[in-house]
Amino acid sequence: MKNKNPKPQHTKSNESTIHFKGTFIAVMLLGVIMVASWFGVYALFLSR
């Protein structure tokens, strides 16, 4: 029997409604921590 109401297919317009804000904040936080800790260690190297 054919499904009269098939599930909507994933389309481009659907994807753009997914919220990435949390993902973005998480990766940016990680990136900032990495860069900041690197410069912290480099500052220690220069001060010694």
Binding site: F20, K21, T23, F24, V27, M28, G31, V35, S47, R48
Partner: protein
């Protein structure tokens, strides 16, 4: 190509950090003179005394110019040979005034050792057959322990020395 706005920001951040780190490498190498400690200079590990710097009378601290010092060291299991004082006793402390430029030259006749002056940037590997060099300015005064940070055998933990920087 359709990129999400956040993805664009992340890519700019990533490529930007790459550019910053490349600039830091240039700054370190050309401005600060940071280079690898081993200069691929070889030495016969069976006969390190044949080298001018590692003759028994040349070991330890020597003032080569005003405020410039050279320290020649033979690292062997499980000791750093810092030379002998005028009474013929074994030296275990290198004493230099603050702000002096010190060149450490280290080699080993036996196995791989480490040479780290804890609390300073002097940290290098000492390999048999090679001469490791590190020139540094002793900016801070205090007592710094020289430690072997490459496991070299049963007495590895007994291998240490001292650098004292005074005003």
């Amino acid at each position: 190509m359709n990129l999400h706005k956040y993805e664009k920001i992340w890519l700019i951040f990533g490529i930007g950090s790459l550019a910053v780190f490349l600039a830091v490498i240039g700054f370190a190498a050309f401005w600060k003179g940071t280079h690898p400690q081993s200069h691929i200079e070889t030495i016969d590990p069976q006969n390190v005394e044949a080298h001018e710097a590692f003759k028994p009378e040349n070991l330890g601290l020597r003032e080569v110019a005003d405020g410039k010092y050279t320290v020649n060291i033979i690292a062997s299991a499980f000791n750093y040979d810092l030379g002998k004082d005028e009474n013929g006793n074994r030296v275990d402390t290198i004493r230099v005034p603050r702000g002096s430029t010190v060149l450490f030259q280290v080699t080993t006749p036996d196995v791989v050792h480490g040479f780290q002056i804890a609390g300073t940037n002097v940290n290098m590997m000492v390999e048999p057959g090679h001469i490791s060099r590190y020139e540094t300015v002793m900016k801070n005064n205090g007592e710094f322990t020289i430690v072997c940070n490459e496991y070299c055998g049963i007495g590895h933990h007994l291998m240490f020395g001292k650098v004292e920087v005074y005003d």
